[in-house]
């Protein structure tokens, strides 16, 4: 039953190929049918493989299927081989289910677009690459998938490439990603040098048995994490994600909320043996995750673009996932990844629905009171917002609580504190968004108001399905307070996590206190948002008037982009221009042109010998003869 798992990436891959070659000639209905069905088929096979996996004993993990012998250099071997184990199962289920729903939504959202075929080709290509990434059984193939999703991110962000801002955003995403990839590659190289293989099973075994020195483990862990910061948009390489909102909304939902940006978390979870054995690296991961969580949350407070708020929210939530991985609770981090996929994609798609209804308006200050025009969208959006804020009984509560509790249990109080602060801000900015968009006075432009309409069913049905999952998805990972051994999720992932020592435990009482604290914090955030935007709408303005510098700092994203431009980007551009002027033009072009010129020069000199007169020719003839005879005679 489990042997068919290797088909999972290749069905979308085949679909990509067909759409790429024939896409322009196929009718729209067929394209959407094929694209969505391909992803759905992958989902079905994932479910089947998952069921099969539960029936195989733990010792058989991971199930590996080798497809092709690929790289074979000396002692090093890297094959095209896919594997299936609990971690992979979680990722494939998330990617294919959420991906399928987003594909269906895009059929409605992109129905008017002129590059319909290209969109679905690239979406399927992305699905294929992401599945290769999560199903690869060695680091090299995973890196192939890693780059593949980076490429698709570039293609899809710059989907409307005629717009300058979109093209630039695509470039920015790809280039910043590449910087992270440099670190990732260095990590892979060190692993190859020290362990000799990139197969995950081999790595875990070798490192677990103490084959590497502590400093080497730390070094590799940090290098791999650099790659993760690039792909998952953490400090310092997060700057591409807000700009990536130039792409179509389904792209933002799929790639920049649910799947690609979580690849870094998956990678850290997969390489958990390094982070468990190296406390310094794990601390760095947790710290960066926590700082990013709060940093991004503060930037979300002031944004007026509905998608930008959600982008910063994504950065912040991924920070939470890294907190989970950094404190050793990899299962908690993956759990948050899984629930976040549902409610963040729900939020993005709902925002897309709002934009669709308002003919493309993004600015929240020009919205308001939309809940009577868009009831379905409002309901689903609200569910998503409640989920992300960590209100009890929805999925976000369970996953966020799991992370914060593990942080506290492992003695990382500073990280826990930052996480808690981030939770307040999360609740606050999400409900700010809800209140500004759906409640209060209507601030719509007149032409926009004329065309306001609820989105078609093909868009609202996926929303409702995602909302359903946002509610129930958390119940497979119940915390200890509700009963021992109800955390099926972390038990499922246990075989994949390297256990160096037992988990820390807290007393039941402490756990209850922590839970109540996070609930209180969430409700407090919602209440404050209500006060600021419904009861006394003047408060935000007076705050801005009192602390203009604070507002400017937050609104301009702490000027990070400007700092990067000044410190990194412009010097590099200036430097390459100098090299171009002095080296490329003068030396290289000079050499090439110079050799041509000298050939012509010598040719011109030689051509003076050809005067056309017999006498001159005879002269040279005789000279040669004289030299020859002289040589022979003397």
């Amino acid at each position: 039953m489990t042997d068919i798992f290797w088909l999972i990436p290749f069905i979308p891959g085949l679909s990509t190929f067909i759409l790429a070659v024939f896409g322009n000639k196929l009718p729209k209905k067929y394209i959407s049918f094929q694209a969505c069905t391909a992803v759905f088929a992958s989902f079905v096979i994932s479910v089947i493989s998952f069921i099969g996996l539960r029936q195989t004993p733990h010792e058989a993990y991971p199930l590996v299927k080798k497809l092709l012998s690929w790289i074979h250099v000396g002692n090093f071997q890297a094959d095209l081989a896919l594997q299936f184990d609990p971690l992979t199962a979680v990722m494939t289920l998330v990617v294919t289910l959420v991906g399928f729903l987003i594909h269906v939504y895009s059929v409605g959202y992109m129905s008017e677009d002129k590059s319909y075929a290209r969109f679905f080709t690239e979406m399927n290509l992305f699905t294929f690459s992401m599945l290769i990434l999560v199903m690869a059984s060695n680091l090299v193939l995973m890196f192939v998938g890693w780059e593949g999703v980076g490429l698709c991110s570039y293609l899809l962000i710059g989907f409307w490439y005629e717009k300058h801002s979109a093209a630039n955003a695509g470039n920015k995403a790809f280039i910043v990603n590449r910087i992270g990839d440099a670190g990732f590659l260095l990590g892979i190289l060190f692993i190859i040098i020290n362990i000799g293989s990139t197969e995950f099973a081999a790595i875990s075994e070798a490192v677990g048995n103490g084959a590497l020195s502590q400093s080497m483990i730390t070094l590799i862990a940090i290098l791999l994490f650099v790659g993760a910061t690039g792909k998952s948009a953490q400090i310092p390489l997060y700057v591409w994600l807000p700009d990536a909102m130039e792409g179509p909304t389904p792209v933002s939902a799929l790639i920049h909320a649910a799947t690609m940006v979580t690849a870094g978390v998956y990678m850290v979870a997969r390489m958990n043996v390094f982070y468990t054995l190296s406390h310094s690296a794990a601390n760095i991961v947790a710290l960066i995750g926590a700082i990013t969580a709060i940093f991004a949350a503060t930037m979300a407070l002031t944004q007026n673009d509905i998608k930008r708020v959600l982008a910063y929210s994504t950065i912040s939530q991924i920070g939470y996932m890294f907190i989970g991985c950094g404190v050793g609770a990899y299962a908690a981090g993956m759990f948050h990844l899984y629930t976040h996929a549902f409610f963040k994609s729900l939020l993005f798609l709902a925002a897309g629905s709002v934009m669709h209804a308002l003919s493309g308006e993004l600015n929240m200050q020009k919205m308001g009171g939309l809940r009577k025009y868009l009831p379905h969208t409002y309901l689903t959006f609200l569910i998503g917002a409640i989920a992300i804020s960590g209100v009890p009984f929805l999925s976000g509560f369970f996953s966020k609580d799991a992370i914060l509790t593990s942080a506290f249990a492992n003695g990382q109080y500073f990280v826990w504190g930052l996480g808690l602060g981030g939770a307040i801000l999360t609740a606050f900015y999400m409900f700010r968004l809800i209140f500004l968009t759906f409640h209060g006075k209507e601030r719509l432009a007149p032409e926009v108001k004329k065309h306001v309409h609820e989105s078609p069913k093909i868009m609202t049905v996926p929303l409702m399905i995602l909302a359903f999952f946002s509610i129930i998805a958390g119940y497979i990972g119940l915390p200890v307070v509700f009963g021992k051994n109800l955390n099926w999720f972390s038990r499922f992932l246990e075989p994949v996590i390297y256990q160096a020592h037992g988990e820390a435990h807290l007393s039941l009482g402490t756990e209850w206190i922590l839970i109540l604290l996070s609930v209180a914090v969430a409700l407090f955030g919602i209440f404050m948002a209500h006060v600021f935007y419904i009861r006394k709408p003047g408060i935000p303005h007076s705050l801005v008037a009192r602390f203009p510098w604070a507002y400017k700092l937050l609104y301009n994203k702490y000027y990070v982009d400007e700092i990067y431009n000044a410190v990194v980007v412009n010097p590099m551009i200036r430097g390459s221009e100098i090299v171009y002027q002095h080296f490329d033009l003068k030396v290289i072009d000079g050499a090439v042109n110079g050799s041509a010129k000298s050939a012509g020069f010598f040719g011109r000199i030689l051509s003076t010998f050809q005067s056309g007169l017999i006498k001159d020719y005879a002269l040279i003839f005789l000279l040669g003869a004289i030299i020859l005879i002289g040589y022979l005679v003397f």
């Binding site: 004289i626 005679v633 003397f634």
Partner: protein, 167 residues
């Protein structure tokens, strides 16, 4: 006796070539060369090659030079050509000549000692020539006849006056 003949013939030969260089008229040049060839014929005879000597006179000094004279008359240029006046060419050619001559002298260095040996019986009579021509050198003989025909045809075709449209 032989010495006297040799020196007489050779001096006349060389003088006629030198005159050929300095005289401007083409017809005179041709005639001087006829004289030179005649002397050469005499020298051949001195070298026990009577047949070749006669052939030289009949064909070279006779037929070929007559051909030259015909062509000179056909071209019939009243203009005279003064020899090369450019100093560079003069000096260069003189230098080349001298160098070449010195090289040739060196190349015959080894032969200075050797006296002109050889049998006193005449070896150059037509009988012995004919014997060799038709046995050892048969191929060149036959091919040369083809060559002559080819040259004849070629000369006729080339020099024929075209009575078509073009001139």
């Amino acid at each position: 006796m032989a010495y006297f003949l040799f020196f007489a013939l050779s001096i006349i030969c060389i003088l006629s070539v030198i005159f050929m260089i300095f005289v401007k008229d083409q017809a005179y040049n041709a005639l001087f060369i006829v004289l030179a060839f005649a002397c050469l014929g005499g020298l051949f005879a001195l070298l026990d090659a009577p047949f070749i000597a006669v052939v030289q006179i009949i064909i070279y000094a006779g037929a070929i030079m007559v051909l030259f004279v015909f062509v000179i008359m056909m071209i019939n240029l009243r203009k005279e050509f003064s020899p090369e006046k450019k100093k560079l060419t003069l000096i260069l050619s003189l230098v080349i000549g001298v160098v070449l001559f010195i090289e040739f002298l060196f190349s015959v260095k080894g032969a200075f000692q050797q006296l002109s040996s050889g049998s006193t019986e005449s070896i150059g009579n037509p009988t012995s020539l004919g014997k060799l021509l038709f046995t050892k050198y048969l191929y060149p003989f036959e091919i040369t006849s083809v060559l002559i025909i080819a040259a004849m045809v070629g000369a006729i075709v080339l020099a024929k006056k075209k009575d078509k449209d073009k001139e």
